[in-house]
C-alpha cells in the first residue's frame, strides 16, 4: 500500500460510512418487524423518530460518496507520477484489477443512495408512511453495496505498488488496443456523435414526456441509464478529442485536469445529477399505485424527470459547445 493522505481520507470516509450504516442496521430490522403506524405506543413513537436518523444518515452517506468519488478520481490522477507508464487516472486505476471496479462500485453506491432518498422522500409525504418496510429493506441492501465499495477500495489501495508498469489512457483507449473501453474509443466520431445525440435526445424527450404526462416512467428511467452510458461513450470517443484537440487522446479523466480548465466538471456534474434524478424516477414507479401515494409519486416523479430532462439538455449543449469551440476537425463538412 502507498501511504498517502488522500488514500487514508478515502478509506476513512468509506469505512465510517459502512460502520454508521452497519450500526444502524439492527434498528432498521426493528422497524421492519415492529412498525405499526396505527399504534400510539411509546415504542412506535420511538421507531418513528428513528426514521429521521436514517434519512439523515442516508443523505450524509450520499453526499460523502459524491465528494469521495471526486476525491478518488482526483487522487488517482495525481498518483499517476508514481507508476511507470501512468500519465493520468486511467493508468493509476489500472495498476491492479481493483481500480476500475472500485470506481464503478462507488458510482453505483451514489446512484443507489440517490434512489433510496427519492423513495424516502415520497414516503415521508404520505401520512401513513406506506413504504416504511420497503424502505428499510432497501437500506439493508444499500449496506452490502457500500461494504463492497469499501472492500474494493481497500483491495485496490492495498494492492498499489509504486514499481508496477501500468498502461495508461493512451494504450487503454487507443484504437489498436482490445477490450470494451478501447472498442468504445475506437468508434468513428460520426456514429459516436449520432449515438450520443440520439440517446440524449431520447432521454431528454422521454423524461420531459414523463414530467408532462406522468406516463412512461420506467422508459424515462431506462433512457436515463442509457444516456449516462451514451455520454460516457461520447466523452471517450469524441468529446475528449475535441477538448484535447488531439485526435488520439480519449481519456475521460484528463478533462478534469487543470490543464484543460477543469472543463470535465461542466459535463459530469449535470450528467450525474440528471442520471440520479432519472433513476430516482424509475425507483418511484413501482409505488405509484399505493393508495396514499397516488398523488404524491407522480408529482415528485415529474419534478425529478424535469430535472433529468434539463440536465441532459445541458449535457448535450455543453458537449456541443466543446465541439464547436475546438480547433480540432474530425468530421469534414
Amino acid at each position: 500500500m502507498i501511504f498517502q493522505p488522500a488514500i487514508i481520507a478515502l478509506l476513512l470516509a468509506s469505512g465510517i460510512a459502512v460502520a454508521m450504516l452497519a450500526a444502524a442496521a439492527p434498528f432498521a430490522l426493528q422497524v421492519i418487524r415492529q412498525w405499526d403506524i396505527a399504534s400510539g405506543t411509546e415504542r412506535q413513537l420511538l421507531l418513528e423518530r428513528r426514521t429521521y436518523l436514517f434519512s439523515t444518515l442516508a443523505a450524509f452517506v450520499m453526499v460523502v460518496q459524491l465528494v469521495a468519488l471526486l476525491l478518488f478520481v482526483f487522487n488517482a490522477d495525481r498518483m499517476a507520477e508514481m507508476f511507470v507508464g501512468a500519465m493520468c487516472a486511467v493508468g493509476t486505476l489500472n495498476v491492479n484489477p481493483f481500480g476500475f471496479p472500485a470506481l464503478l462500485a462507488q458510482m453505483a453506491v451514489f446512484f443507489l443512495a440517490a434512489a433510496w432518498l427519492a423513495v424516502n422522500h415520497v414516503d415521508t409525504r404520505a401520512p401513513d408512511y406506506p413504504l416504511v418496510r420497503v424502505k428499510y429493506a432497501l437500506l439493508l441492501i444499500l449496506l452490502p453495496a457500500l461494504a463492497l465499495a469499501f472492500v474494493l477500495q481497500l483491495k485496490y489501495f492495498l494492492g498499489l505498488r509504486a514499481d508496477v508498469i501500468t498502461s495508461c489512457c493512451g494504450s487503454l483507449f487507443s484504437g489498436d488496443a482490445k477490450g470494451l473501453a478501447a472498442e468504445v474509443a475506437a468508434l468513428k466520431p460520426l456514429p459516436a456523435m449520432t449515438l450520443f445525440y440520439v440517446v440524449l435526445a431520447v432521454a431528454a424527450g422521454l423524461t420531459f414526456f414523463h414530467a408532462r404526462t406522468r406516463r412512461a416512467g420506467y422508459a424515462a428511467a431506462a433512457a436515463s441509464a442509457a444516456a449516462f452510458v451514451a455520454t460516457i461513450v461520447g466523452v471517450l470517443s469524441f468529446v475528449s478529442l475535441y477538448l484535447y484537440e488531439h485526435p488520439n487522446h480519449h481519456c475521460p479523466f484528463c478533462i478534469l485536469k487543470p490543464e484543460y480548465g477543469h472543463q470535465g466538471y461542466w459535463l459530469y456534474v449535470p450528467l450525474f445529477a440528471a442520471t440520479a434524478a432519472g433513476l430516482g424516477t424509475g425507483a418511484l414507479q413501482p409505488f405509484r399505485q399505493v393508495a396514499s401515494l397516488r398523488e404524491i409519486v407522480p408529482a415528485v416523479s415529474a419534478r425529478l424527470a424535469d430535472l433529468a430532462a434539463f440536465g441532459y439538455l445541458l449535457v448535450a449543449l455543453i458537449a456541443t459547445y466543446f465541439v464547436l469551440h475546438s480547433n480540432l476537425i474530425l468530421i469534414e463538412h
Binding site: P5, I8, A13, R49, Y52, L53, T56, V67, A68, N75
Partner: protein
C-alpha cells in the same frame, strides 16, 4: 423552491443568533477545531511545497546518472568508462562528474563539494551555497580555510554565493575548480564520482538505461523519473505518517465534538422543546443543527487554513520543519513558493469536516427528537 430557500435563510438566521448567544461554549470548540485544521493544513501545505520544490530542482538534473558498483557499494568511475560507453542513440551528452561530502567540524555540518564540468570556478576560489554562506558568515571576497581529510589546510577565496531560488538542493553546496577538488580530496587523476547522461526523449530513457547496464555490467543507472517517484512517495509517506500520528488527535477531536453536541445544556433542551411545540418539525431542528455544524466547520476550516498558510509561507513553517524536511544536518532556510493544491484542500476537508459531521450526527438527532409536549410539562 423560493419557500425552500427562504426557509433555509430563516434557519441560518436562527442558527447564527443561537451561536452568538452561546459564545463561550462554541468558541472553545471552534478553537480546537481551527487548531486541528491548522496543524493538518500546515503539514499538507508544507509537504506540498517541498514536493514542488524537489520537482523543480530535479527538472534541471540529468535524466540518467551512472554509478559504478564494487561489492555492492558505490565506487569511483575509472578512466576509460566514458569512452567505453561511446555513442548510444538518443543520448545528447555524457559527462563525468566530481563531487563528495565534507564534514565541517566548525559548524558541525556536512557540505557537498562539487567541481562543475566546465571550468566555471577558477583555481583557489569557491562559490558557496546560501546556507554555507550563512552558517560561516561568508560574503564574496572573504577567505575561508578547510582542513582536508588528509590533514592539510586549504585556503580559498569566496567569489560568489549561489542564488536563493533553489535553496533546498543548493544550500549546502560548495563549488570549486577540478584541480582544487582533486587536490583537496586527493582524488585519483582521471577518475570520476559518477557519469551524467542527458536523454532528450523520455520514452528512450529506459532503452538507454538497459544498454548502459549491458555495456557496463558493474554499473548502475539511476533514472531521474525514478528519483522523482521516490521523492514523491517519500514526501507522501512522511505526510501520511504525520497524519496517521495526528489521527489520534482527529479521533480525540471527534470525541470532543460528540461530547459537545450531546452535552446539551438544560437551556438548549428547553429551547428545542419550545421550537418543536410552536411548530418546528424534527426535520427542521435537524436542518438547523446541521447548518450550525456546517457554519462552525466552515469558520474553523477557513481560520485554520489561513493561519497554516501564513505559518508555512510567511513565517517559514517553524513548527514542522524538523519533522518534515530532514535532508541533512544543515537545514536550508528557504522561502517556500506558495502553492495550494485542490486535492490537498479536499483531503484536508475530509480529514476534519467529515469526522466532525459524522460525530455530531447522532447527537443532533437525539436533540431533535425532544418531545414537543415537553414545553408544556416543564
Amino acid at each position: 423552491m423560493n419557500a425552500w430557500i427562504e426557509k433555509q435563510r430563516h434557519l441560518i438566521d436562527f442558527t447564527l443568533a443561537s451561536l452568538a448567544r452561546r459564545k463561550a461554549k462554541n468558541l472553545g470548540l471552534l478553537l480546537v477545531y481551527a487548531l486541528l485544521v491548522f496543524v493538518l493544513a500546515s503539514v499538507a501545505l508544507y509537504t506540498h511545497a517541498l514536493r514542488q520544490e524537489a520537482a523543480q530542482v530535479l527538472k534541471q538534473s540529468p535524466e540518467i546518472v551512472l554509478q559504478r558498483m564494487v561489492a555492492g557499494r558505490h565506487d569511483l568511475i575509472p578512466p576509460g568508462y566514458l569512452e567505453k560507453i561511446g555513442r548510444i542513440r538518443g543520448v545528447q551528452s555524457i559527462e563525468g562528474r566530481l563531487w563528495g561530502y565534507y564534514y565541517d567540524p566548525v559548524v558541525k555540518a556536512n557540505y557537498t563539494f562539487m567541481a562543475p564540468a566546465a571550468e566555471a570556478v577558477k583555481p583557489g576560489t569557491l562559490v558557496v551555497g546560501p546556507a554555507v554562506a550563512r552558517s560561516r558568515g561568508l560574503a564574496p571576497g572573504n577567505t575561508i580555510s578547510f582542513r582536508a581529510y588528509s590533514g592539510k589546510l586549504f585556503s580559498f577565496t569566496v567569489v560568489g554565493v549561489l542564488p536563493h531560488a533553489s535553496e533546498l538542493v543548493s544550500a549546502d553546496l560548495v563549488l570549486m575548480g577540478e584541480a582544487d577538488f582533486r587536490a583537496f580530496f586527493e582524488y585519483p587523476a582521471g577518475q570520476h564520482t559518477d557519469i551524467a547522461l542527458s536523454v532528450a526523449n523520455p520514452l528512450e530513457v529506459r532503452t538507454v538505461a538497459a544498454k548502459l547496464a549491458s555495456a557496463l555490467p558493474d554499473s548502475r543507472p539511476i533514472l531521474r523519473e525514478e528519483v522523482l517517484r521516490t521523492y514523491a512517495s517519500v514526501f507522501d509517506w512522511r505526510e501520511g505518517i504525520v497524519l496517521a500520528l495526528l489521527s489520534a488527535a482527529i479521533f480525540a477531536f471527534a470525541i470532543l465534538a460528540w461530547e459537545k453536541a450531546s452535552g446539551l445544556s438544560a437551556e438548549e433542551k428547553r429551547e428545542i422543546g419550545i421550537l418543536k411545540a410552536i411548530g418546528w418539525e424534527t426535520g427542521d431542528v435537524i436542518k438547523m443543527k446541521l447548518w450550525e455544524g456546517g457554519l462552525i466547520s466552515l469558520t474553523a476550516f477557513l481560520a485554520g487554513f489561513v493561519a497554516a498558510y501564513l505559518q508555512v509561507f510567511r513565517f517559514g513553517a517553524p513548527l514542522f520543519e524538523p519533522v518534515l524536511k530532514g535532508w541533512a544536518v544543515l537545514y536550508p532556510r528557504f522561502e517556500l513558493v506558495p502553492a495550494i493544491d485542490g486535492l490537498q484542500v479536499a483531503t484536508l476537508f475530509f480529514f476534519t469536516v467529515f469526522p466532525y459531521m459524522a460525530a455530531v450526527l447522532v447527537p443532533i438527532w437525539r436533540a431533535a427528537i425532544t418531545d414537543p409536549d415537553s414545553a408544556m410539562r416543564s
